[in-house]
């Protein structure tokens, strides 16, 4: 079946602009995660959705970052008033509860000029 998809694959924006990143999880996966990966660094957890439970937002670096998920489908990560330090690859992953392993999308490479 189809894997996790993300769009756009690349986004170049100017400092101060808002951006919206999209993630389509694997069908049937109840959990969805967003991570940030800065150049040459590991994964930084941002936010996690599980079914209808309140999301775990503990990793969001500032109030400029927010995310939404509609039911158990698409999620959007929004970054307002982008800064140069927001430049990174944003990875989305989904998982079933039982299996626990997360399946990752190809990522969105965000460049803030």
């Amino acid at each position: 079946g189809a894997g996790v998809s993300q769009s756009p694959s690349n986004k170049v924006t100017e400092k101060g602009k808002d951006v919206e990143l999209r993630c389509d999880p694997i069908s049937g996966h109840t959990a969805l995660y967003w991570y940030r990966q800065r150049l040459g660094q590991g994964l930084e957890f941002l936010i996690y959705f599980q079914g209808n439970s309140a999301p775990d937002k503990s990793g969001l670096p500032s109030d400029r970052f927010s995310a939404e998920r509609t039911g158990e489908s698409v999620s959007t990560l929004t970054i307002q008033r982008t800064q140069q330090e927001d430049s990174a690859v944003y990875l989305c992953a989904s998982s079933q509860i039982v299996g626990n392993e997360q399946f990752f999308g190809p990522g969105t490479r965000l460049t803030v000029l």
Partner: protein, 116 residues
């Protein structure tokens, strides 16, 4: 709190030789442990996991990992490395005790370079 350490930023090995990528973890309860691989300009791919049972776990592409509770380690191994194994490898842990949902904590990654 849960944490993962990958002490080596880079591991170099000759093709055909065995490889080991090290990982140690810290959790309050029992761990779920994972290895992922990232090829250039691509997302992470799941390699293998340990939840319970045999300490030696076999995964994709001939990789295996050994869970050692006393040493709190989960080193990734392969008996004979291939040039195509060259990639960035991440270890990750989930602490069952804290019940943090499916939240994983990732290590900083180890770059594996396999040379002819």
């Amino acid at each position: 709190a849960q944490s993962v350490a990958q002490p080596e930023d880079q591991v170099n090995v000759a093709e055909g030789n065995p490889l080991t990528v090290k990982c140690t973890y810290s959790v309050s309860g029992n761990p779920y442990l994972f290895w992922y691989v990232q090829y250039p300009n691509r997302g992470l791919q799941f390699l293998l996991k340990y939840i319970t049972g045999d300490n030696l776990v076999k995964g994709s592409y001939g990789f295996e990992a050994e869970f050692n509770k006393s040493q709190t380690s989960f080193h990734l191994k392969k008996p004979s490395a291939l040039v195509s194994d060259s990639a960035l490898y991440f270890c990750a842990v989930r602490d069952l005790f804290t019940g943090g949902g499916n939240k994983l904590t990732f290590g900083t990654g180890t770059q594996l370079k396999v040379e002819l």
